[in-house]
């Protein structure tokens, strides 16, 4: 998953030259985090999978059509396309049954078998957060996913969201506070 900046640039240039192998490599590198990003935004496994696949195909077509306007990283481009696709998705499903997050069966946690306790704990955390995340404002949720789930740098987030770095910092702080508030509200009745 970790990739140096130079490698990333190299990958982008190769992809720009319509190098298929490079694009598949990019898929391997970014599919997990993109899936996670989409999953937390749409809250549904099947839809997340569909959207993730569309993101890669759309990105490839976008590059083929040479529409690239000075993109700094392939990652930023993928996230931008993903965001647009999610917006389209919301528009299409508007008016339908509101999106619900999968139950635990839908969530695949990789090391569940290795450490059952850890997996259990994670599931618990996930459930709490999953129920709270959709209640957050869209931009707060987005920035939390990017920053804390996908561990993107402030600079990368700024590029994806078309915001300044300072703006992203403030947004992250506010998003985290809002999430804390939501979680504490939930806990109050339990005491």
């Amino acid at each position: 998953m970790n990739i140096s900046k130079i490698e990333e640039k190299l990958l982008l240039y190769k992809v720009k030259k319509n190098d298929k192998e490079a694009f598949i490599k990019a898929y391997d590198l970014y599919v997990d985090q993109l899936y996670r990003f989409i999953y937390f935004k749409v809250g549904n496994r099947e839809e997340a999978e569909d959207l993730s696949s569309s993101v890669f195909l759309k990105t490839w077509n976008y590059i083929l059509e040479k529409k690239l306007e000075n993109p700094n990283t392939l990652k930023a481009l993928l996230y931008k396309i993903a965001r647009n696709l999610i917006i389209d998705h919301y528009r299409k499903t508007k008016g339908r049954e509101s999106v619900s997050l999968d139950n635990e069966n839908g969530i695949k946690i990789i090391d569940e078998k290795q450490n059952p306790n850890y997996g259990l704990e994670l599931k618990a955390d996930l459930l709490v957060l999953e129920t709270k995340l959709p209640k957050l404002k869209d931009e707060y949720r987005e920035v939390i996913i990017l920053r804390f789930f996908n561990e993107l740098s402030i600079k990368e987030i700024a590029e994806i969201l078309d915001k300044s770095k300072g703006n992203v910092r403030v947004l992250t702080y506010r998003a985290l506070n809002a999430l804390k508030e939501l979680l504490s509200q939930d806990e109050k009745p339990s005491f």
């Binding site: 240039y13 030259k17 195909l57 695949k108 996930l126 804390f148 702080y173 804390k180 979680l183 109050k188």
Partner: protein, 346 residues
């Protein structure tokens, strides 16, 4: 303690504060450090979490939970399956292009097309071309310095001489250049005489042309020297006239006010003005009078001698003589310059 429901099992899972947890550096930096800890304190597990009233929710725990969520990954089967599909989809979209070498890509990264495009702009091309022409021209002129008639670069030498001559505005400088060119002609003749490869006839033709050239140059220098001399005398006369007129004017004024010192020494009457001004002008141009006429006379004489030597076909001596003339002329030029500065400061 955070109490979390566990879905369908209905159990309650307690998640104690993890002892080994260290907050992710990037996560904290986004918040400007752990807000529960004083500035500069490392977020160690030993430090108890700050209490938010009755609620046991702390930032570290939250961040840890958030961080845990990065373990959510898509279904491996789907991932693998879609990889194949994606590959076939992108293969169908366009014929396969040969993969490029990394070196070429790095080169393209370092040297983006924009730089090349900006270099191809007319301004840059024009300036590059003019610099090239200048360098080639200067190189040609330098190379032509020792050329003789018949050489391909001889024409460059003649042109550069003409250009030099055109750039000289002072008669003195022009005379100097004339002497220099005459010296060049003599040197060329020496070179031609040394050169035995050529046939006698062609050599004779060239020598004839060169000697004519030499004569012409010398004649011109002589003319110039006489012109300079005449101009000097004219200037001297003008100076004294102007000086006299000024003196007359100031005297008139001084007569009205009070008798001036100069008038007490020398009574100024109409006819005497000329004599006093002459005295003063003689003092003024004392440097000119002492140095330049002598050198000019000697330059004239040396020129005559050089011409004589040239007629006797004694070329080496002629060259030496001409160099002496040149020296004398440049010395007189210096003296002239100094005297000009001195008179302007007076």
């Amino acid at each position: 303690m955070l109490i979390s429901p566990l879905g369908e099992s209905g159990e309650v899972k307690l998640t104690p504060f993890p002892p080994k947890f260290v907050a992710p550096a990037r996560g904290w930096s986004a918040l400007g450090g752990d807000p529960c800890l004083p500035a500069g304190t490392a977020p160690l597990a030993e430090i108890p979490p700050c209490q938010g009233g009755q609620i046991n929710m702390n930032d570290r725990e939250l961040l840890k939970k958030l961080n845990n969520l990065k373990d959510i990954k898509p279904d491996q089967a789907w991932k693998k399956n879609y990889r194949g599909i994606l590959y076939s989809q992108i293969s169908a979209s366009r014929p396969v292009l040969a993969p490029q070498s990394n070196i070429r890509i790095v080169w393209q990264t370092i040297m983006p097309r924009q730089i090349l495009i900006s270099l191809a702009k007319p301004v840059w091309l024009a300036s590059a071309a003019s610099v090239l022409i200048l360098v080639v021209g200067l190189g040609g002129v330098y190379a032509s310095k020792n050329s003789k008639p018949g050489d391909s670069l001889y024409i460059a030498k003649i042109i550069s001489e003409k250009a030099q001559f055109a750039m000289a505005f002072d008669e003195q400088d022009k005379a100097k250049l004339g002497v220099e060119f005459a010296t060049n002609r003599a040197k060329e003749m020496v070179q031609i005489l040394k050169d035995t490869d050529q046939t006698l006839e062609t050599n004779n033709d060239k020598l004839e042309a060169l000697s004519q050239n030499f004569k012409r140059e010398i004649g011109q220098v002589k003319k110039r020297l006489t012109i300079i001399k005449a101009a000097k005398e004219q200037a001297k006369n003008d100076e004294s006239q102007v000086f006299g007129a000024n003196l007359g004017k100031s005297d008139q004024r001084m007569e009205i006010a009070e008798p001036a010192e100069s008038t007490t020494e020398k009574p100024v009457a109409g006819g005497d003005i000329a004599s006093t001004t002459k005295l003063i002008s003689e003092n003024q141009t004392i440097t000119n009078a002492t140095s330049t006429p002598e050198t000019r006379a000697s330059a004239d004489q040396m020129l005559e001698q050089a011409e004589k030597l040239f007629d006797e076909k004694n070329l080496d001596e002629t060259i030496n003589k001409l160099e002496e003339v040149n020296k004398a002329l440049s010395e007189s030029g210096q003296v002239k310059g100094e005297s000009e500065i001195a008179s302007s400061t007076d």
